[in-house]
């Protein structure tokens, strides 16, 4: 397929693929003028998103999220520990001491040709920290609605036993918008989480109960098996390029047009985070408002997808 002469230097005909590799920016700009992207998406539309809950059978809660080709697997393990003396009635999410961070985001070499074994990817600590900030510090100091997770629900026996939650997220395929997919999988894993049943054994220690009721001991937390999540955060990453705003970029788009804006909104419409780490294009107020509007729409879509996945689980 030939392309018309775009500059004096080019030969009169060139393959589309060759043009895409040699002049990626011009290739994209020709699409943007028509308000469309090479994968036939309009500028404001995100890629197809799917969620599979319970992907990891051995974990207490897990989810596999796919946005387009970007795939993230989140898994939650829970462990009983003694709560800290300052907060005897609260559980905790991981150990908040560096380097043992609560929420771990891994980019193994399987996800992208740019990640080499042994050297952590550049994006890894950044996305990891962003996730921790969004999920953990997302606390509204009204104690009734404290953030996404109420730490008091993680308590078992006041002052003696509480749950410690470990969340690990693995990137299986990195094709742009890593933070969006990671946050979605983390949120879905928390929604899917089934707190294991525990009981007190003879020595006064809290142990996990197996399926058969051993010696008729009563479980400590039979009724309370799922976490209530309030104000769930959802995010959308957009690229700013000249006057265009592209929602949900692929890895190719991210590498060509470097200005990313990530907006995180929660289900009540509050802005949890607006993250724009530099980039050649400046964001004016109008651009920010457009990004926030696109994110609001996306939050509705994601909310629906999450609810459908959850109701699908509860059928059996």
């Amino acid at each position: 397929m030939g392309l018309p002469n775009v500059s004096g230097d080019l030969s009169a005909e060139m393959d589309v693929d060759a043009f895409r590799r040699l002049f990626p920016l011009r290739f994209y700009e020709r699409h943007l003028v028509e308000s469309i992207r090479p994968d036939a998406r309009p500028l404001g539309r995100a890629r197809d998103t799917t969620l599979a809950l319970g992907a990891v059978a051995s974990a207490d809660g897990s989810a596999l999220a796919k946005i387009g080709l970007t795939t993230m697997l989140a898994a939650i393990k829970m462990e009983v520990m003694t709560p800290s003396t300052e907060t005897p009635d609260e559980g905790s999410i991981g150990i908040n001491i560096e380097p043992f961070s609560a929420i771990d985001f891994h980019m193994p070499p399987i996800c992208s040709p740019l990640v080499r074994p042994g050297r952590p990817a550049e994006a890894e600590p950044v996305v990891s920290k962003q996730l921790s900030d969004t999920i953990l510090r997302h606390v509204d100091c009204f104690s009734v609605i404290s953030g996404m997770i109420n730490l008091k629900e993680l308590s078992l026996i006041n002052g003696k036993a509480a749950w410690m939650v470990y969340l690990d997220i693995y990137c299986l395929d990195a094709d742009g918008a890593l933070f969006d997919a990671a946050l979605l999988s983390a949120v879905a894993a928390f929604s899917h989480l089934q707190i294991p049943v525990v009981s007190l054994n003879d020595h006064g220690k809290v142990v996990l109960m197996s399926e058969e009721n051993e010696g008729g001991k009563d479980p400590v937390n039979k009724e309370k098996r799922k976490l209530t999540l309030s104000s769930i955060p959802f995010s959308l990453t957009c690229i700013l390029h000249k006057n265009y705003i592209l929602a949900d970029p692929t890895a190719e788009e991210e590498s060509i047009m470097e200005t990313l804006v990530t907006v995180v909104l929660d289900s009540s419409g509050q802005l949890v985070s607006l993250y724009k780490p530099g980039g050649p294009v400046l964001a004016y107020t109008s651009a920010i408002q457009d990004c926030v509007a696109l994110t609001r729409q996306r939050v509705k879509e994601l909310r629906k997808i999450l609810d459908e996945a959850l109701s699908g689980m509860e059928v059996y």
């Binding site: 950044v126 606390v139 802005l271 400046l282 109008s286």
Partner: protein, 245 residues
């Protein structure tokens, strides 16, 4: 609702700023920037030949190393490095010296709140001191937002922490960077060029209107900061020592 600040500043008042250039002997450019008690030292080495493996050889490359005051570098430092790198890449003219690497090293001397904006300002001053070609300058500011929608600028560490612990009053820090062109004011789609945001970094949740409100306050304050930056970057008197070679 007025909130009394501990150091008796008005909500829009910045802490005393100070900037010194050319303080390190061996570095090609260096600057120290302090806002109140927060002090950051920035050094620039470059341009050096050759870029890192995966970087585009047609452009210059910037590498940032962030050294905290105590302890080892962890994820927080890596995140700051990435934010700073992207910010500085957007203000430098990268096509002038292709296939080179410029290193910016940030050393935190003292942290009393608003650390990242202080570092960005220091890095910008150090780049000017090193003579790296820049498109325009960048200034950064930190805003805090209390529950009632009340905005305070340039919070100290105590304000940042205290407002998180108290239940009724809490803090969401918003970082805004505003661009300042050297002299000319161009209109772009109705908004002057100098109101563009290069980088924004927020912690904690707030409503969108509060965020935009913070932006307005931040912009007003950055014009004062940029005047200060321009003044301190004036060429020094010839009696000052120049680097040999």
């Amino acid at each position: 609702m007025e909130v009394d600040r501990i150091d008796e500043r008005t909500p829009n008042q910045l802490r005393p700023l100070s900037c010194s250039r050319n303080i390190l002997n061996r570095a090609h450019g260096s600057a120290s920037w302090s806002q109140g008690d927060t002090k950051v030292l920035a050094a620039v080495y470059g341009p050096k030949a050759g870029t890192r493996k995966n970087e585009n050889p047609e452009k210059a490359c910037i590498e940032v190393i962030w050294k905290p005051k105590t302890g080892q570098s962890g994820k927080l430092e890596k995140e700051y490095e990435m934010i700073l790198k992207r910010t500085l890449q957007s203000i430098c003219i990268l096509t002038i010296n292709p296939n080179t690497m410029t290193s910016v090293i940030i050393q935190v001397v003292d942290d009393d709140g608003a650390l990242l904006p202080c570092a960005i300002n220091a890095a910008c001053a150090a780049l000017v001191d090193a003579g790296i070609p820049l498109k325009h300058l960048a200034v950064a500011i930190c805003c805090g937002l209390a529950e009632s929608g009340y905005v305070i600028l340039d919070p100290t560490k105590l304000e940042e922490q205290v407002l998180i612990i108290f239940v009724f009053d809490f803090m969401n820090a918003v970082l805004v960077l505003s661009v300042l062109p050297n002299g000319s004011l161009q209109k772009k789609g109705g908004e002057p060029l100098e109101h563009g945001i290069i980088t924004s970094f927020t912690q904690g949740s707030m409503s969108v209107e509060d965020y935009l409100h913070c932006l307005e306050r931040g912009r007003a304050a950055t014009s004062k900061m940029s005047d200060f930056l321009r003044r301190s970057l004036q060429p020094q008197l010839p009696s000052d020592s120049s680097k040999a070679g």
